[in-house]
């Protein structure tokens, strides 16, 4: 069953890291997309990875989730090495993700989408399915229950039997998050969850992300361009530029880091008033 225990919100960062990325590097031929990036994500934290377009953020995520094999470096989830695992094994190990461009299963209903997200926790086999054993019925019921709980959690119960891609845009984003959560992850990676959302939808999303952490106890790591969202939501921020980590720290530290302003706005603007304004919006 899905974990729905309510835990009190954390105040401050926990000291233990759930995810430890060390000296992670990815080279595509001569191009170094990610260059020796180290990042430790504290348990039950909300952290962000930011950086200008092409900074290597998505490549970074793709390595953590096993889609790309890193050239060098190590990724440990709760002490367990993930490098060398297939994406589905990484998911089973406890990292779920959403995609920058929504990737819902377009011929399935919302419920079925979430049931697929539950796949790696279901133990029924081919033979169970053909013979309709008790285990089959149990796992089907479990998947359905997971879908119900998750749809409730993100507030999409009314769309249960609607084709996923017919949902309004913001709800599709939420559904993707629900699908990822159905695998009861320890850590969820959100790749630009607010992309294309209007301010009201973004506020909804912010509340949802907080609830994922507070109510489900899932650690959150997101890539985001919406600076207001990043600055108000994140407890810790890592900044990438040209594949290299140029800054990290608490939101106000990152906001005032000249290196970050330079990366976003160029050398000249970094010193001026304009830069401060832009970075703080």
């Amino acid at each position: 069953m899905i974990k729905t225990t309510t835990r009190p919100p954390t105040s401050g960062l926990s000291s233990t890291s759930i995810l430890e990325v060390d000296a992670l590097t990815k080279e595509f031929g001569g191009l170094t997309a990610v260059n020796s990036v180290t990042m430790h994500v504290p348990e039950r934290a909300i952290v962000s990875v930011i950086g200008p377009n092409g900074a290597g953020k998505t490549t970074f995520f793709n390595m953590i989730t096993g889609i790309y094999a890193p050239t060098r470096g190590s990724i440990k989830l709760a002490g367990r090495e993930l490098v060398g695992m297939r994406p589905d094994q990484v998911t089973e190990a406890g990292i779920a993700r959403t995609f920058q461009n929504i990737r819902l299963f377009s011929s399935m209903t919302s419920e079925e989408n979430i049931m697929v997200g539950r796949t790696c926790r279901l133990k029924s086999t081919f033979v169970d399915a053909v013979l309709r054993t008790r285990r089959f019925h149990e796992t089907e019921a479990e998947a359905r229950e997971a879908a119900r709980v998750m749809l409730d959690f993100v507030g999409l119960s009314k769309w249960r039997n609607e084709i996923a891609t017919n949902l309004p845009y913001g709800d599709q984003r939420k559904l993707e998050i629900a699908r990822a959560l159905a695998s009861t992850p320890k850590l969820i990676l959100l790749d630009e969850p607010a992309a294309g959302m209007n301010p009201r939808e973004t506020e909804d999303l912010k509340a949802l992300i907080r609830r994922i952490r507070d109510e489900l106890g899932v650690t959150i790591c997101l890539i985001e361009h919406d600076m207001r969202l990043v600055m108000t939501l994140s407890e810790y921020i890592t900044v990438l530029d040209y594949g290299t980590k140029i800054s990290e720290g608490l939101p106000h530290q990152v906001r005032n880091d000249p290196a970050v302003m330079e990366a976003y706005l160029g050398r000249g603007a970094a010193a001026g008033e304009y830069g401060k304004e832009e970075a703080s919006t």
Binding site: T58, G84, S106, S107, T119, I163, N166, Y169, N198
Partner: protein, 547 residues
């Protein structure tokens, strides 16, 4: 969104349709077509009907009557009617009227068996292509594997093989049998061990290499064991001069399933890393490889000469039953195969439906919809695709065996590329992913190829005003092709579309509307564009490709 679609979308497919009850119509249709079928397949009766009998004897008319009769089953499935009527029509058509009409015209039974064999093939390919979205152009290879599995043993070939090994024993004997057994056990054990190890630690180059070496060891062990057994049993070549005991038929039904599934896995392992066109081309090639193997392994397959005669099961009790029902002894066998095929296809359909509504079925559709997302959601790609391949292959395998037993002759030419294409056209025509659809597709294509088009040719050959050059008999493939093209243009989702596929096609229509709308700009750019209802199903390389 277009103006017309501005409200929250409620696709038309989901509107509750109030279907009229058609019980009476169904029963009436059943009675009429049954009577027509029975008359048109009873020469004695037709002779007494004068001109009406002549009309019924016309090949086209006869083909149409058969088609209409088979439509009974379709209507019983589609129409809203009382359950007793559906059961009566379905069971009555397939279990009573059809065999009964086949009593006077065995070609009808032959045709029905052919349709069902193709329906099973279409159902198997449907799992691979329709559900899992893996385009396989070499599907007939698995059919061939099933057919040869039985044919080699149930024909004089087996005696020939034993004789060959009897006269060429080499160094093989009981000693090599022992060595082979040990080798097989050890290598299989180590492969299982490495597999379990990979479950716990990430695979390294050394562990992968040792797995491969163990695999080769296993293969040589199996070959050694097989060869030794053949040599040791060479003495009994005379005893199996006409093939093994027909009692083994039932064992081989299971064996052909397993062999075909195994070949499915072996072919799938190297090729399923590929996608789309690449997969299609390599499966096409491997399908041909199986056919060429059948052609060249002439000791076992008799090469292009083909294997004949192929034995079959002997079921005395069934013969007794058929005799009591008034069938002639030469029809017993065909009737038996008819009932067997009917049972097998019912079983296949059951397996299909159950798999579809399970974790595995959802995983297949997820892979078809979006492979990367499916894997990121924890669907093991390779394993899931292999299950699809092996399941599809096993259906083909069992039907291949029944096909061989029915034809009593097979040669590599029975398994050429055209067969794969034909089965694929059944799946596409019927509706990818829809079980009822692909069965209908199989029936339509088989009827077209075996009855309607030849009947059309035969009927028009005697019509004086049709010149020989444009006689439809010479244009069978052309007409068939035109029908396919027309279908794809008019109804791309197939005759009886799968709900998902239909929804997807509708969805894509919506999307086209949207992109013509101007509003859709900024779709991919992100930013703060308010974009309700937008979705992109396009592949995006940014999110990663293959590993």
């Amino acid at each position: 969104m277009t103006v017309a679609n501005a409200n929250p979308p409620k696709p038309a497919v989901r509107r509750p349709l109030v279907k009229p009850d058609r019980t009476a119509l169904l029963v009436a249709f059943f009675v009429v077509t049954s009577v027509l079928l029975l008359i048109s397949h009873a020469p004695d009766v037709m002779r007494n009907l004068g001109p009406f009998g002549d009309v019924l004897r016309n090949k086209v008319v006869e083909a149409l009557i058969v088609s209409l009769f088979l439509a009974n089953v379709l209507f019983a499935y589609l129409w809203k009617a009382a359950n007793w009527a559906k059961l009566l029509v379905g069971a009555g058509s397939l279990l009573v009227v059809l065999p009964w009409a086949g009593r006077t015209d065995t070609s009808l039974l032959d045709l029905s068996i052919q349709i069902m064999i193709f329906a099973a093939l279409a159902l198997g390919l449907n799992i691979v292509v329709g559900l899992a979205g893996l385009l396989d152009l070499g599907y007939v290879a698995f059919f061939a594997v099933g057919a040869y599995t039985w044919s080699i043993f149930a024909s004089p070939r087996f005696g020939e093989v034993l004789k060959y090994y009897g006269s060429n024993p080499g160094t093989t004997g009981s000693g090599t049998l022992a060595i082979g057994l040990v080798l097989t056990a050890v290598t299989a054990g180590s492969m299982i061990f490495i597999r379990s190890l990979h479950g716990r630690i990430a695979p390294t180059r050394a562990s992968n290499l040792s797995f491969l070496i163990a695999g080769f060891g296993l293969l040589s062990g199996i070959i050694l064991v097989g060869r030794s057994i053949l040599v040791l049993f060479a003495g009994s070549a005379e005893a199996v001069a006409n093939g093994i005991n027909p009692g083994f038929f039932w064992l081989f039904l299971a064996l052909s399933i397993m062999t075909a599934a195994l070949v499915g896995v072996l072919i799938g392992l190297p090729v399923l890393k590929l996608k789309g066109d690449y997969l299609a081309i390599i499966t096409l090639g491997l399908g041909e490889v199986i056919r060429v193997l059948a052609n060249n392994l002439s000791l076992y397959t008799a090469g292009s000469q083909g294997i004949t005669p192929i034995g079959s099961a002997s079921v005395p009790w069934f013969n007794g039953l058929a005799g009591a029902l008034g069938f002639r002894p030469d029809q017993f066998y065909l009737l038996f195969l008819y009932v067997l095929v009917l049972a097998v296809i019912a079983l296949i359909l059951l397996v299909n439906v159950r798999l579809d509504k399970s974790r595995i079925g959802r995983a297949w559709v997820a892979i078809r919809d979006d492979e990367i997302a499916a894997q990121a959601m924890g669907v093991p790609l390779m394993q899931t695709k292999l299950i699809a391949f092996a399941t599809g292959a096993s259906f083909a395998g069992v039907m291949g065996m029944i096909f061989a037993a029915k034809q009593t002759f097979i040669s590599p030419e029975s398994f050429n590329l055209l067969q794969s294409i034909t089965v694929l056209s059944m799946v596409v025509l019927g509706g990818m992913g829809s079980f009822s659809g692909v069965i209908l597709g199989a029936a339509v294509v088989t009827l077209l190829n075996l009855r309607i088009l030849p009947g059309l040719g035969e009927a028009s050959a005697n019509v004086s005003w049709i010149p020989q050059e444009v006689n439809p008999a010479n244009f069978n493939r052309f007409i068939f092709g035109s029908i396919l093209v027309a279908m794809m243009l008019l109804r791309p989702e197939g005759l009886l579309p799968n709900k998902r596929v239909a929804r997807e096609l509708h969805h894509e229509d919506d999307q086209e509307d949207e992109s013509g709308d101007g509003n859709a700009s900024g779709l991919e750019a992100g930013g703060d564009v308010y974009s309700a209802g937008f979705a992109t199903t396009k592949e995006d390389d940014k999110t990663g490709g293959d590993r």
